[in-house]
Symmetry: C2
Subunit: 440 residues, 2 copies
């Protein structure tokens, strides 16, 4: 059996490994346009910000390790087309290649800002490690940068560029940072910490053009011009699906490939995984696109197991998320008030301000937890948090609570560890749930 | 209505506050033998170890704040007896005091080591803050200490004394640290970090006598004498119940007061909360005694609400626990292999070694997660962890998983936050569950 994977990101590499596990005798070939696989693109902003010493740190495995593991990775190779009837692909330089099972993991691109000057020099789309190495040298002489929209990576780049003493103007059409996923009072500490870092934040403003002769000199916005020799394009992710679309594989409303619970597409023996797919949200059933590397990897493993003849299902997602933003950690699960309202969901909120260790213990950090629950079923529909530590672990917890439909009444009576050095007497999740219950 | 609380620890203070909330017009009186209420006794080892600057930091509220809140705290006052028929108590210096509702929160004592010399000078039972202030001065000139048994506070004192450069010999009848709650491979890093701190660990050894003329000079053990001018008595907690017992209130097999789900005792209008009670374990139904301050506080609040005429239930416990031990954080939920085997429970284990942030991100720490599940129901019966961060939050999570009966299959497919600065691609809880499922 020959299993072909198109794409060498988290989904593609996860798929290749899992396919090999499920079908050890299969021939497994991974095609990637890039020079590398198996590095952590999510680390790039932190190398730019000098929190991490070198881009070399981001590589997970060497090319030799893949050769030894028996996975055949073809670097800098373009797959031009897929013929799902003939079960072949066209590869530049290789010609027609047959497959028994195909896994599409072509990932995502930044949404086109859709304004003039999008092809000027000086526009940086943070994504590929080789380009990042080149851009990092440019950052040494960069004076002024504009961040276009406050997506996840753009948020991290905002802090990173300030750490490199580059003037930063953040232009975002939303009314506050990450307004599509986070509520204003939750991101307020982040906004404040950027204010302290002297980030020029322009909320409710839109970029209308990038200007310059060959390279960027200024960014035009609805509210005036901003001088800049660099622009970080931080628009939302869109699925990278020309290949699937031309092959007649069914795409959904987000532009992502529609997959079933086995990550199987509309074409026989063709699977898909990662940011090129769309996945139903567990609460709303609305298809989602552009999740995390952890989601991509898990989807890739599911696709790989099934392509290799095993059986694994992927579940609707509840999307725990988290990040370092300014001097804070920010995170949550599913919906904040903004999204829940937009979806027409009925909800009641409960918030608690707490601490992460005993009040007197060194390193104690504040933490705010906000829960949203459906008043009818009393189940969580979302959570948001900001604090100094323990955000990721709590987001994972609350994601599982949301998925399994544990009520806020149950959460309100949760037990918690109390030990001065590692946890406070009152767990803020429990207190937020108690406050929510008292409103029901 | 008059509500009387006996005891000013976490349970008593939680009860007084909750009773006031439920019944704002009630007269609420708290009797305590000690000079203070509302401080954090759990912080004492860390002040001794100089991690926290001063004992003053451990106080949560001033005496004036209690006066202002309308709770009448009577310090250094002994309650001599309870008459549950007459609904009165005898108080030294006050005589007969009537109550409408009584809440017993008399807490715990260290188990008597049961060997000669238990009343010698130089034997320190870490518990009360005023005594701790006095002992802290003695520690300045202490040369050699023996820690008698490795309970929670004794574990913290072991590290604290080494931080003060006092020679430490740890004598424990168990085969490894905290052998009654933790499995050997989980506590092995802790044992190693004490080895690096030059703690003389004597596992499988027992103290047979404390010797000295007026103050301690050496400790006799089954394996020989140990010179010491200080001994930390770290034996397990026993409920402090002479008062309840003499009043004819029903005690259970642990010596703890038997309470129903409303924290009501066998006597009408008498409630109890905290370490003087026993609470059924959610998995085994075995009564437990000697839980955490967080448990005591929550039980106190339950007792207080009900005593005040409200309605709140306390649930069987799953006991998430955690602590700083040596250079590690240690934690878990319910049973390890040792206890599960002793209880005759059938179980399968799954372990994962993971990391807490991206491998390349500064401050990344190792973490090991071990899960135990019932092979029949596929539900968790316990978990154990050792690592550098995120132990408390994971213990809380796994406690809720255990309580709500979420299967390991569900846990194996949990979503997790991935963002280099705050979480790794693979959540070790999920990987441990996957490893466990693969054995079922």
């Amino acid at each position: 059996m020959k299993i072909v994977v198109v794409g060498g990101g988290a989904a593609g590499i996860g798929a290749a490994g899992a396919a090999q596990g499920a079908s050890p005798d299969a021939e497994i070939v991974v095609y990637t346009e890039f020079e590398d696989v198996a590095y952590s693109p999510c680390g790039i902003p932190f190398v730019h910000g000098k929190d991490i010493e070198s881009f070399d740190n981001l590589f997970l495995a060497t090319k030799e390790q893949y050769v030894q593991s028996g996975i055949d990775v073809r670097y800098e190779t373009t797959v031009e087309s897929i013929d799902t009837d003939a079960k072949t692909i066209q590869v530049t330089g290789e010609g027609t290649v047959a497959y028994d099972r195909l896994i599409i993991a072509t990932g995502w691109l930044y949404a086109d800002p859709g304004v003039p000057g999008g092809d000027l020099g000086g526009l940086y789309r943070v994504k590929d490690i080789r380009r990042a190495m080149e851009w990092d040298k440019i950052l040494d002489t960069t004076k002024k940068a504009v961040i276009v929209e406050s997506g996840f990576i753009a948020m991290e780049m905002t802090t990173a560029l300030r750490h490199r003493n580059i003037d930063v103007t953040l232009v975002d059409p939303g009314p506050w940072p990450m307004s599509d996923v986070a509520d204003p009072e939750i991101v307020e500490p982040v906004r404040q910490s950027w204010e302290e870092l002297n980030v020029d934040m322009q909320w409710g403003n839109k970029v209308t053009a990038f200007r310059g002769s060959s390279s960027l000199t200024h960014v035009e916005t609805e509210q005036g011009d901003v001088e800049a020799d660099l622009a970080i394009i931080g628009t939302h992710k869109v699925p990278n699906n020309p290949l699937a679309e031309e092959a007649g594989i069914k795409l959904g409303s987000t532009g992502g490939i529609i997959v079933d619970s086995h990550m199987q597409t509309s074409a026989p023996d063709v699977f898909a995984a990662g940011d090129c797919t769309e996945i139903p949200h567990g609460v709303s059933n609305v298809p989602l696109q552009g999740l995390s590397g952890s989601h991509a990897y898990a989807q890739g493993k599911t696709a790989g197991v099934n392509a290799g003849g095993g059986e694994r299902q992927y579940r609707p997602v509840y999307v725990p998320w988290g990040m370092l933003a300014g001097e804070w950690m920010l995170g949550g699960v599913s919906f904040g008030e903004t999204t829940a309202s937009a979806l027409g969901l009925d909800f009641v909120t409960g918030t608690a301000n707490g601490i992460t260790r005993a009040r007197y213990y060194p390193g104690v950090k504040p933490i705010t937890v906000k829960l949203l629950a459906d008043p009818e079923s009393r189940r969580l529909i979302g959570a948001q948090m900001v604090g100094g530590e323990g955000i990721k672990e709590r987001a994972d917890f609350l994601s599982m609570m949301t998925r399994t439909g544990i009520t806020v009444d149950e959460i309100a009576t949760m037990e918690n560890v109390y030990s001065p050095a590692i946890g406070a007497l009152n767990e803020p999740i429990a207190v937020a749930a108690q406050n929510l219950v008292s409103k029901l």
